[in-house]
Symmetry: C2
Subunit: 100 residues, 2 copies
């Protein structure tokens, strides 16, 4: 069942754009990993936060992706730039008004 | 710029599936309204919550959609089933590791 991971990453002051650059770097690893969508966002109202909204073919695919070399490298690179504040939700997709 | 609206809707006990049914009912209104994605989800860990993750062509398109007949009808129908607890984030999409 399609799995969603949406969340927020708090970043140290002034580090948002660098974290965005790391998270949006093209990752061909993800192409075969069951990642359906991985959107990274920002909000003027929250200048020290990076937002992510991901869809995966399954929760297992998401979990397994955390072991991919490119994902591990991105996490390692971003970690020193994060404040430690994190939020978010994980859920199973059950439908959409855009589909029958 | 692509706009994301992700959020949670608290529902009264036992009403989750009904709220899911309302939110996932096929809405052809949305097809021409700039809605790129509208996923509705649930989580066993939070039985009284419905999750939504939406992408729109712009924040304005999202705002305008709230006036669509089908959307207004759905809100009216779901409202009595909601607990009043709501959460979420709105942000602008700046990139994805799935795209160059």
């Amino acid at each position: 069942m399609t799995f969603a991971n949406v969340g927020t990453l708090g970043v140290k002051p002034g580090q948002r754009d660098e974290v965005v650059a790391i998270l949006t770097r093209r990752s061909t690893d993800l192409d075969g990993a069951g990642c359906l969508s991985y959107e990274v966002g920002i909000s003027d109202e929250h200048p020290d936060t990076v937002f992510v909204s991901e869809l995966w073919v399954s929760a297992d695919a998401h979990q397994a992706s955390l072991q991919l070399a490119s994902v591990r490298a991105a996490i390692k690179e971003a970690m020193p730039l994060l404040s430690g504040e994190m939020g978010g939700d994980r859920f199973e997709i059950v439908g959409s008004p855009l589909r029958n």
